[in-house]
């Protein structure tokens, strides 16, 4: 049995406290009036001066108002009145920046929450695949995976609370939730969003979120329970149950995962849509999840717990990290190239905002998520070198966070982004929570699912 080292517990709690401080200070430093925004922009001085003047310029041209998916319509309205009153337009611009800055700590919290939720969810899907495929190599890792998925219920509750806060207009990161957009009488009426309101409306959105989260957590709860019962069983009854349930779960998962990606991520740019978005999110989720499985396995093995895990298991996980990194890039490029080539205004705005305002993270993540893992993990022998896997894993996780960042932030904060206190604080907080929950869950059951029918094969697995 694994026992939680008190140092690790302390470490996790310190991370949570420091992270919480960062989050709180992020909320406290967010401006509440346009006057404060003006002051902040002036106070920034030369360092960001060029940035902001560029942003201001871009706001004075009508095309870019359309490009700004998020508050596009408010602004095309504002743009119509442009010529008449310059002061009004400046005020509207400041108002716009104010909303973006107020959205920033919420978005930072949301992204970090989603990122760690995806690690647990991706691990759950990977675990389900192992059961459904009756994989012979991986059963020695089942308890590690179950430990990681233990974070899913915690993350689900936090995420649902965040979605509720958005639904009750405590924050405005989901632009489409603004009731004025679908009100034909309103001056902010948005025909496109109104046309999508059959799907994108608050009650249905919350019901869907509840169904997705409940379904995943139900599978997680039952499969874990059966896995523990199987330890003491005389036959393979619980394994068979898990096998059947996993097959069903995977069908449920791939449908709900796809819809989840539209709801929780794609709807930040409510005018825009991409048909492979679900796969794209899935690929990123799987890379992060498998990376975390590999990292935790290596850490536990270093501490002398997983003596039955050998180099071949780590090798296989590293192969998956390598493979899914390429898969992620493939989908990233498939989405990018078609839209880039066709160059249809309603589609291409998505990439225009990202390339104009997020150039470094947008292209930088191709290095961290593709070039780096491909070059480091290509050689077969390197996949067995533990510190190589850990090093690549850290870079991949950072890159996958940036991936999520670039998916969410342009729709919520536009050009007013920065990776500062709120973002890092949120990451630290959820990282601390994740480590605490996962490693506590690892102590709850033996690290070897001893009665699994494939255990002997898995222990002797040799590549």
């Amino acid at each position: 049995m694994y026992t939680l080292p008190s140092k690790l517990k302390l470490f996790a709690i310190i991370f949570m406290v420091v992270g919480a401080l960062g989050i709180v200070s992020g909320f406290l430093t967010a401006p509440s009036t346009t006057a404060e925004v003006k002051e902040m922009m002036a106070g920034h001085g030369d360092g960001h001066g060029s940035d902001h003047s560029a942003a201001e310029e871009s706001h004075s041209t009508p095309e870019n108002h359309v490009a700004e998916e998020n508050h596009g319509d408010e602004h095309s309205q504002a743009a119509n009145e442009h010529g008449e009153n310059v002061h009004d337009s400046e005020e509207a611009h400041l108002e716009h920046i104010l909303h973006q800055m107020q959205n920033r700590p919420w978005s930072a919290l949301y992204i970090a929450c989603l990122f760690f939720l995806f690690i647990a969810l991706g691990t759950l899907a990977f675990y389900g695949i192992q059961y459904a495929a009756q994989a012979g190599w991986s059963p020695v890792l089942y308890r590690v995976m179950e430990g990681i998925t233990a974070y899913l219920p915690v993350a689900s509750v936090i995420l649902f609370v965040l979605l509720l806060l958005s639904a009750f207009h405590i924050n405005h990161i989901f632009h489409w939730m603004d009731p004025e957009l679908v009100d034909p009488e309103s001056s902010h009426y948005d025909k496109l969003i109104a046309g999508k309101s059959g799907w994108l409306n608050i009650p249905f959105f919350l019901i869907r979120a509840a169904i997705f989260l409940a379904g995943w957590n139900l599978y997680r709860y039952l499969s874990r329970r059966n896995s523990i019962k199987q330890d003491e069983a005389d036959d393979n009854r619980w394994f068979k149950k898990n096998f059947k349930m996993s097959a069903g779960f995977l069908v449920f998962f791939i449908v709900t995962e796809s819809m989840m990606s539209w709801d929780w991520i794609m709807s930040f740019d409510p005018h825009w849509f991409s048909t492979l978005f679900g796969w794209y999110v899935f690929a990123g989720m799987m890379v992060s999840a498998i990376t975390v499985i590999a990292m935790i396995s290596i850490i536990l093995k270093k501490q002398g717990y997983l003596e039955f895990v050998n180099d071949s298991h780590i090798h296989d996980l590293a192969k998956y990290m390598f493979g899914f990194s390429i898969f992620w890039t493939y989908l990233w490029f498939s989405q990018f190239m078609l839209i880039w080539y066709a160059n249809i205004p309603e589609e291409v705005t998505y990439f225009v905002t990202r390339i104009e305002d997020y150039k470094l993270p947008f292209f930088g993540m191709l290095v961290t998520n593709f070039v780096f893992p491909v070059l480091l993990l290509m050689n077969s022998d390197y996949k067995r070198v533990n510190w190589f896997v850990i090093l690549t894993g850290i870079v991949i996780l950072a890159g996958q966070y940036i991936n999520l960042f670039v998916m969410v932030m342009p729709g919520t904060v536009g050009a007013s982004w920065f990776i500062g206190l709120p973002e890092i604080g949120s990451i630290l907080f959820f990282f601390g929570l994740f480590v605490f929950v996962v490693f506590t869950a690892l102590t709850k059951a033996p690290l070897l699912a001893k009665r699994n029918p494939f255990m002997k094969e898995s222990k002797n697995y040799h590549y």
């Binding site: 490029f333 190239m337 080539y341 077969s380």
Partner: protein
């Protein structure tokens, strides 16, 4: 000087693997093993040096990538620039996304084909080459291990091989040493 080789035939790959281990443990020299299909792990138990074909494959892939870049640069940018979908081809980097599929395909193409050709050359295989396998049954369902008899006691060696599970053992006298 004539050299003697013993051919031991097995009819099961697991048996063969065990036999290879035992023969090597007794310090007999295995010249070659002929199998009807690739036996997983046989190269390791025979003590063969690991293959370096993966490294050549990587280099061939890089060659393919470079060829694709130079080729598309010449065709689409230098020689005959066209305006496709409002994207005039005057700069390679600005049109790069359109060329990525070609860059990818040629990387794979070069890596795969040149790797196969390298493998044939390294294995000394070419068209119309006469087959080297000493017993046609090794192309069907039998496994043959060729052991250098050298100065060993043939009787003792035969007995030993019989004990490892060989179903047929024959002594081959080569006229010429090679």
């Amino acid at each position: 000087m004539a050299s003697k080789t013993i051919h031991a035939i097995y009819n099961d790959d697991d048996l063969l693997m065990q036999a290879v281990k035992q023969v090597r443990a007794e310090h007999y020299h295995i010249e070659e093993v002929y199998t009807p299909f690739p036996v997983h792990g046989l190269d390791k138990v025979m003590g063969l040096a690991p293959t370096r074909i993966a490294i050549t494959s990587f280099m061939y892939g890089l060659v393919g990538l470079v060829v694709a870049i130079l080729m598309m640069n010449f065709i689409m940018i230098e020689d005959w620039p066209q305006n496709i979908g409002g994207k005039p081809s005057f700069s390679y980097i600005e049109n790069m996304p359109a060329f990525v599929p070609i860059m990818f395909e040629l990387t794979v193409f070069f890596a795969a084909h040149l790797m196969v050709i390298t493998f044939y050359m390294r294995s000394k295989l070419w068209p119309f080459k006469k087959a080297e396998n000493p017993d046609v049954r090794t192309t069907d369902d039998h496994f043959l291990m060729a052991i250098d008899a050298g100065s060993h006691d043939v009787k003792k060696l035969t007995k030993f091989l019989y004990d490892t599970g060989a179903m047929e053992i024959s002594l081959i006298e080569n006229e010429e040493d090679h």
